[in-house]
Amino acid sequence: MKKCRRCSKPATLHITDIREGVAHELHLCETCAHEYLNNAGSELPQSAEESEPFALKGTEDPDELEQLDQVVCQNCGISFREFRSQGRLGCPHDYIAFEAELIPLLENIHGDTQHCGKFPKRAPDASQRQYRLIKLRNELRNAVGQEDYEDAARLRDEIQELEQGIEGSETE
């Protein structure tokens, strides 16, 4: 049995609230439902973004969608499909790997696709090296998962070497 969304008593009433053409299901206990119906005015609005933030608008063709979903980031291994289902990206490089898919989405969320605001005063140096680290960490994760300890040890050394290289250049 579902619990009341407001207190934790069992929900006995299931209200479908339609606002601006969008239906919201509310599960409430009797007390809370009574209060809700008498007091609908103070209910928090739910924005469309919160209910389905990463719907791909304008991509109606299932084949095309299927193709989009197959795109994989070479550094962290996440697929665009995985991103869409969990709503979280896998690494900073995904913004490049999924650029074609993400730009319309950003346009949709923010109404803009060009950053305007603070930037790190020390411009980040060759991001290639950073992405290489993410890639090595992903390979390390897989190696550990497959109990390939020889590979894992080699990857750890490589990560450490690269890390030290970065720290060295940062303190210059």
Binding site: G41, P92, H110, H115, L133, E170
Partner: protein
């Protein structure tokens, strides 16, 4: 960090000082940051998470905040203590509920908190009492600048600070104010405020963020857009709109007093009376009644209680705070009894209680 000692105190941001603090309870700015050489947390295994935590912890502990910083290992904390930090607004509900290596650095006075391994590698938050967004921004900007000397943030010229969720990319900033709007709720005028805010892309949330319902007539108003507008611009948008809501709430309060002072006074006094005398009381009812009392103080209808005390009661009557105070795990029914006892002690015979 001694949590038991904290049960008797509250963060500086609850002091009820600062401009418009009768309605603007607090101002908050948070920044989302990630390190360039690590995957985001959804692709981070345990060893990457612990590497991230120890790296960021050392940088956070090295910060010069002008006061002592306490670091709390959230991963090894009991769930009651995690909830306790959520109630004090020092970590997010998501941070409390997630898994693996994670922690939070908290400044003395609880104005600054730095969450490690939340949705992003680092979430910096600065809280202030009253309407003080510029002060929040100055402080958080300074903290961000000094961290940036130590680490390489994931950043692109086109998209700005890169975040795990595309809804935060760009500035990674969320600017918010917590407003107490009992009169607008009472008269249902609040709906108009929601509509006006949605039109200018500002979000409205409840006391504890994204997933919470509005409790005690508290509403958090914040920016939704993070890309394409500067931090200053986003702060200015909020600074423009907040005074309008504040004066709307004041206007409606005054109208309520003028139209029917006696019935309003009656309602507020009854709320106060219940809080002083109840033998068992739910969190929901407490929030609701405290909200009336808070407005009553601001309208001069209650004169033997201070705003900071009421602000504190909103937090101290939450479930984890009550249980910490009693040093025991309490089921809901027992909590309601403990809450009533606590309220009676804090609100009745206040002069003798203080000694």
């Amino acid at each position: 960090m001694d949590f038991d000692a904290l049960t008797g105190t509250s963060g500086e941001w609850l002091r009820g000082t600062g401009p418009d603090a009768d309605i603007v309870v607090s101002s908050r700015v948070r920044l989302a940051r990630n390190l360039a050489q690590f995957p985001f947390l959804s692709r981070a295994d345990d060893s990457v998470k612990s590497e991230l935590e120890s790296l960021l912890r050392s940088k956070v502990e090295g910060l010069n905040l002008g006061s002592r910083l306490n670091y709390v290992n959230v991963n090894t904390l009991e769930s009651l203590d995690r909830q306790f930090l959520v109630e004090r607004q020092l970590i997010s509900p998501e941070h409390a509920e997630s898994h693996g290596s994670r922690g939070v650095g908290i400044s003395e006075g609880e104005n600054v908190s730095l969450m490690i391994n939340e949705e992003d590698h680092l979430r910096i938050q600065v809280l202030r009492s009253g309407l003080a967004l510029d002060e929040c921004w100055e402080e958080i900007n300074r903290i961000d600048d000094s961290l940036e000397q130590e680490v390489t943030y994931a950043f692109s010229e086109r998209l700005g600070y890169l975040t795990a969720c595309p809804t935060n990319v760009g500035t990674g900033i969320r600017v918010s104010v917590m407003l107490h709007l009992p009169a607008l709720v009472l008269t249902k005028e609040i709906q108009k405020v929601f509509q006006a805010l949605q039109k200018i892309s500002l979000a409205v949330r409840g006391l504890y963020g994204e997933r919470s319902q509005a409790m005690g007539d508290f509403y958090q108003i914040s920016n939704q857009v993070t890309l394409g507008k500067s931090e200053e611009k986003l702060i200015a948008t909020l600074k423009d709109v907040v005074p309008n809501i504040v004066s709307y709430e004041r206007r409606v309060r005054n109208a309520l007093v003028e139209e029917n002072r006696q019935s309003l006074h009656d309602q507020i006094s009854r709320a106060y009376g219940i809080l002083q005398n109840a033998q068992t009381i739910s969190s929901e009812e407490t929030m609701h009644l405290l909200s009336s009392v808070r407005m009553g103080i601001n309208l001069g209808l209650i004169d033997d209680l201070e705003i900071p005390t009421v602000n504190e009661l909103f937090i101290h009557t939450q479930p984890a705070h009550l249980q910490k105070l009693r040093h025991e795990h309490l089921e809901s029914a027992d909590r309601n009894i403990a809450r009533a006892t606590f309220l009676r002690q804090r609100l009745s015979n206040r002069d003798t209680e203080r000694n």
